[in-house]
């Protein structure tokens, strides 16, 4: 008599648990805990990073990300509207932009703007402008598609109602459609913000002063002066200080968005 289906599923689950335990034991046995402690948990080095890891590095990461996100959101909205435009050349330009900047690594965009622009235009952007253009330029490509999807997700009846009240196409877009679209896309936009937070580390290719360091650059710089990987761990934890709340925010907005009972003053 063969095993019942339920019994078999139970045994397979036990086997999976067992395998996990074996892997964990192997890792624990093979790892050199003393080395790991020295490499990642050097409290002296960790302590030496404070307070500037917060007051300089974390602060700069937030500033760079905010600038990039703000520029990216504005450009992304323009691109989304271009993509939905009835004017064909606008659609082509937007499509080419989005496909290009979504397709190349953000690092190349940083390099292009930092080294390419001075050669091509005989001008040099300050780091803050560079990071805003590069981060925002890449973010815009992703956000444009998100915003376009959000605009298209607003029911057609909303535009018809607005037009029937005498609003022009543009007025209906600004007053009725875009506010509703952003409500729909808040969760994915929060994810974009998380991605941009991490991409802001690419600023390391720019020649920066100490007070301009963000988390990754700060961590690497500390690393070069210390025989321990602790700075990387600290920098990593600092990223989590930003991204974990954003992740919670995103999930919260998603839940709130589906409940449909939002109190908003107008």
């Amino acid at each position: 008599m063969a095993m019942s289906k339920r019994k078999r599923a139970e045994y397979i689950r036990y086997a999976q648990y067992g395998l996990l335990v074996v892997i964990a034991a192997l890792v624990a046995f093979l790892a050199d805990w003393g080395q790991i402690k020295g490499a990642f948990f050097n409290t002296e080095i960790a302590a030496s990073m404070f307070p500037s890891v917060i007051t300089v590095a974390l602060k700069n990461t937030i500033i760079y990300t905010a600038l990039g996100f703000a520029f990216g959101l504005a450009l992304g909205l323009v691109l989304a509207l271009m993509k939905l435009s009835s004017v064909a050349p606008y659609r082509w330009i937007a499509t080419v932009y989005i496909e290009f900047f979504r397709g190349v690594p953000a690092l190349l965009v940083f390099i292009g703007i930092y080294y390419g622009v001075p050669i091509a235009f005989q001008m040099q952007f300050p780091p803050l402008t560079t990071v805003m253009l590069a981060l925002g330029g890449v973010g815009a490509a992703y956000m444009a598609e998100t915003i376009r999807a959000g605009i298209q997700a607003v029911p057609k009846g909303q535009v018809e109602a607005a037009r029937s009240l005498g609003m022009s196409q543009g007025r209906a877009m600004i007053t009725i459609v875009i506010p509703q679209a952003f409500r729909i896309i808040l969760p994915p936009l929060t994810n974009e913000l998380i991605l941009l937070t991490k991409d802001s580390s690419l600023i390391y290719i720019l020649g920066l002063f100490r007070e301009q360091y963000e988390l990754t650059k700060f961590g690497r710089e500390t690393l070069s002066r210390s025989p321990s990987l602790t700075p990387i761990l600290i920098a990593g934890l600092c990223y989590l200080i930003i991204t974990l709340p954003l992740g919670y925010l995103s999930r919260y907005l998603e839940r709130r968005g589906t409940s449909g009972k939002k109190k908003v003053s107008a």
Partner: protein, 255 residues
């Protein structure tokens, strides 16, 4: 201003190869209530949506409140402020509360002051019996309440003509009466109304004129008592028999 509110001549509308309106002539006198009835797919909603050019006609002429809407140079946005529309699906602006739904177009389109817009909005909310819902969000209202808010929103623009596109079709049966009551009151106040509806009782009691449409044509038109009470055309008779006494008919056969 002339006594004619809406004048449609030779109206044609196609969606791709599908001819929805084939040659429509229709005149609505100021102050009249005209009900458009007919089977689904007969083109009645499309006809209504052509009156404020939510659907662009393929031919013919539409004049509303003395403005030719089929003129390519017409300021359609300005013309639409005088033509209120109420939709089957309410279409309240879901991100704005009731009061803001009623004031947003007054402010942005008519450029009324906030104070005046609010005054007009509250007056119209009172007309539809929903003063206490001014600060509710649309999602917190029942379908019947939403539709009455939608009527108040259209009225807040001080329209000269009101279009109703199956205003009660999406409502639970027990909520239909509230909306029809508001519409009847509007009719009594002398509003010019064009109503696409399946509510035969309403059409019979309120309409000055009833139009029966089928297959993109106006098949029969006349006073409510005649078109509904004593239809002359076989297609009208067949349709009314189905609508008024649905349980005594088998599955529809092509007529």
């Amino acid at each position: 201003m002339s006594d004619v509110a809406v004048e449609i001549t030779g109206l044609k509308k196609s969606f791709g190869p599908l001819e929805v309106l084939k040659n429509i002539d229709l005149t609505v006198q100021r102050g009249d209530v005209v009900c458009i009835i007919g089977p689904s797919g007969s083109g009645k909603s499309t006809l209504l949506r052509c009156v404020n050019v939510l659907e662009e006609p393929n031919g013919g002429k539409i004049v509303v409140n003395g403005v030719e809407l089929t003129d390519p140079d017409v300021d359609i946005d300005s013309a639409r402020t005088k033509i209120g529309m109420v939709f089957q699906g309410f279409n309240l602006f879901s991100h704005l509360n009731v009061l803001a739904n009623l004031t947003v177009a007054q402010r942005k389109v008519l450029k009324r002051s906030e104070e005046e817009a609010k005054k007009v909005a509250l007056h119209n909310l009172e007309r539809v019996g929903l003063s206490e819902k001014a600060h509710s969000m649309p999602a917190q209202l029942s379908g019947g309440q939403q539709q009455r808010v939608a009527i108040a929103r259209a009225l807040s623009m001080d329209p000269e003509v009101m279009l109703f596109d199956e205003p009660t079709s999406a409502l639970d049966p027990e909520l239909v009466g509230d909306v029809l009551g508001v519409m009847r009151q509007l009719a009594d106040e002398g509003m010019t109304m064009l109503v696409v509806t399946h509510e035969m009782q309403f059409a019979r009691e309120v309409a000055d004129k009833v139009i029966f449409m089928d297959g993109g044509y106006i098949v029969e038109e006349g006073p409510a008592a005649e078109v509904i009470g004593n239809p002359q055309e076989p297609r009208t008779q067949e349709f009314l028999a189905r609508v008024l006494d649905p349980t005594h008919h088998g599955p529809s056969d092509p007529v």
